[in-house]
């Protein structure tokens, strides 16, 4: 089985978010970048298939040279080979199109992409790839078992879960639950040494269109100070929620 995991290079969850160039671009200064958490849950499941069933795991990122440290980390965790499509990601559509074109020339059985990236939160890339390449798609995937071409998967929906049967080739939108937080792998020294020997191939993109572009960013206004209510005056809280906030 050949697996491709799509990797976004995103600011760490604790990062302070700032903008530059007249608030039109994300300010990358002093920001620690990591593997997008939703992608990392998917990568961990892919490595599990490698260890248990001999799968081959490739990773791909659409981005400039700066994302290579993140790709090296995925190799240190256990991916076999990395690809970087050498273009600054502009919108969800262009990223999906780049990956879709790349897949067209290959024969992956399973493609994994996080259900959304924690930077732009588009949540559109896996669905777009599935439609562009006409392959089965399961979003918000929290369970995945594969036997031959047969797939049993579990999807989180509002208020519950769905058990789904389908077939390869397949793309999933991965998230927490596909593996547990405690299953995530921290690269060890051997992994890091081996990652240096593994291939990281730079691919030049074809003609790529975009369908949307960022114009500017704004940070939410500072919140007004909290109204503190004494714990022996709970009637006051109920009164405020009812009369002032009008939420009960």
């Amino acid at each position: 089985m050949k697996i491709l995991v799509c990797i976004s290079h995103v600011p760490d969850t604790t990062s302070k978010i700032n903008f530059t160039e007249n608030s039109s671009k994300f300010d990358k200064n002093n920001v620690q970048f990591v593997i997008n958490p939703n992608d990392e849950f998917g990568l961990t499941r892919a490595i599990w298939f490698k260890e248990k069933a001999g799968a081959i795991v490739h990773v791909i990122n659409v981005g400039l040279h700066e994302t290579e440290a993140t790709l090296r980390k995925t190799l240190a965790i256990g991916a076999d080979k990395a690809f970087r499509i050498n273009i600054e990601p502009m919108d969800g559509y262009s990223v999906a199109k780049c990956i879709s074109d790349f897949i067209n020339e290959k024969d992956y059985d399973l493609i994994i992409a996080g259900r959304e990236s924690i930077d732009y939160n588009g949540g559109m890339v896996p669905g777009m790839i599935s439609a562009l390449n006409n392959i089965n798609f399961i979003d918000k995937c929290v369970g995945l078992e594969i036997e031959g071409k047969k797939v049993r998967a579990c999807r989180e929906c509002d208020g519950g879960k769905e058990n789904i049967s389908t077939t390869l080739p397949l793309i999933i939108g991965s998230q927490k639950g596909l593996v547990e937080e405690s299953d995530l792998k921290i690269p060890n020294m051997r992994g890091i040494m081996m990652a240096r020997q593994k291939e990281l191939i730079v691919v030049e993109p074809g003609q790529i269109d975009i369908k949307s572009k960022s114009v500017n960013f704004e940070k939410p206004k500072e919140k007004a100070e909290v109204k503190l209510i004494s714990s022996d005056n709970l009637d006051e809280l109920i009164n405020l929620l009812h009369k002032e906030a009008k939420v009960i």
């Binding site: 669905g127 208020g159 049967s165 389908t166 369908k211 114009v215 709970l234 939420v247």
Partner: protein, 320 residues
């Protein structure tokens, strides 16, 4: 030319989100002077949408569409979009609608903008405002396409009545076989889901253990709320992952979010920041959550919450 909304139903009834989409769609229709069309699948009462400004209601009734299937639903909606020569398709932010948004954008060759929270700020070229960086920023996006799919954040526009005379049309839809087969579904409980709830009551490590969760559940019961928890709580197995809210968990956009014994890590706050009113109950007056909340109580949850439940019961009996 038209604006199309996908009005979702649950067991034949329109979801609240569907009425919000109709209200939002109406305002865009008025501004670009075009018809507002709704597609609804297996609705018992399609005429209800006329109350919210929908000019044309297209009903597809088909037993094979009783359960959600991403391929069949995408085919059905994109057919209507192309037939109605729509310029806008507006989707909710439910799990099902988010599932098909990307697929639909390829089928219809439209741009797709998710997490939108307001009306377009400009039409030529079209500009939309959306949440980005997990609610840590607002982004203005310009659409480079003559067709667009918008996924609207829940609770961002509101439901506005606007009675019109609408035309109700039945359409047939032929299912194409596909090999995504839902074999069974597991409902977590009969309670309202986090995605659909107006009120969410959430507990953190301050609750000290899963055996104390009844106080969260009792408070939720009085308020008709969904229950949720912080990441450490789900990571320690006190509560299922499906209840974890925050940056890597579920997003919350309720009217009221009550955080009990949650200190308010930046990742947690990012996930719940779209909620309108936030109440925090915590023993530690320096907990970062107090900086993000509207109302706060410094106190012990084990004393405050049971008393709050009793007082709310009284309040409810007087106000119902």
């Amino acid at each position: 030319m038209s604006v199309l909304i996908f009005a979702e139903t649950e067991r034949g009834k329109f979801k609240k989100d569907a009425l919000e989409l109709a209200s939002y769609g109406r305002s865009i229709s008025d501004e670009i002077k075009s018809k507002l069309v709704a597609i609804c699948i297996n609705s018992n009462n399609p005429e209800e949408l006329s109350k919210y400004g929908v000019d044309k209601i297209i009903c597809v009734n088909n037993n094979d569409l009783e359960n959600f299937n991403s391929k069949n639903f995408s085919d059905c909606i994109s057919n209507v979009f192309l037939k109605e020569k729509s310029q806008f398709l507006i989707l909710s932010s439910s799990s099902n609608s988010r599932y098909i948004g990307g697929i639909l954008s390829i089928y219809t060759k439209a741009a797709y903008v998710s997490n939108v929270f307001s009306k377009p700020t400009k039409y030529k070229p079209l500009q939309l405002r959306r949440n980005s960086f997990t609610n840590k920023a607002y982004e203005t996006v310009e659409v480079i396409s003559d067709k667009v799919i918008i996924s609207l954040c829940r609770n961002s526009y509101g439901i506005i009545e606007n009675k019109v005379k609408s035309e109700v049309v039945s359409e047939t839809f032929k299912i194409a076989n596909n090999d995504i087969l839902v074999s069974s579904t597991e409902k977590l409980s009969d309670k309202v889901s986090i995605a659909d709830a107006d009120i969410v009551v959430s507990g953190g490590r301050g609750l000290k253990g899963p055996e104390n969760w009844h106080i969260i559940e009792n408070l939720a019961d009085v308020l008709g709320a969904a229950t949720a928890c912080s990441k450490p709580v789900s990571d320690s197995g006190w509560r299922p992952h499906s209840e974890h809210v925050g940056q890597t968990g579920k997003p919350v956009a309720s009217n009221l979010y009550i955080a009990i014994g949650i200190s308010g890590a930046i990742q947690h706050l990012a996930g719940i920041n779209s909620s309108k009113i936030k109440v925090v109950i915590n023993t530690d007056p320096d907990a970062p959550f107090f900086k993000s909340a509207d109302y706060g109580i410094v106190g012990d949850a084990f004393e405050v919450v049971p008393e709050l439940i009793e007082k709310l019961k009284k309040f409810k009996s007087l106000n119902n």
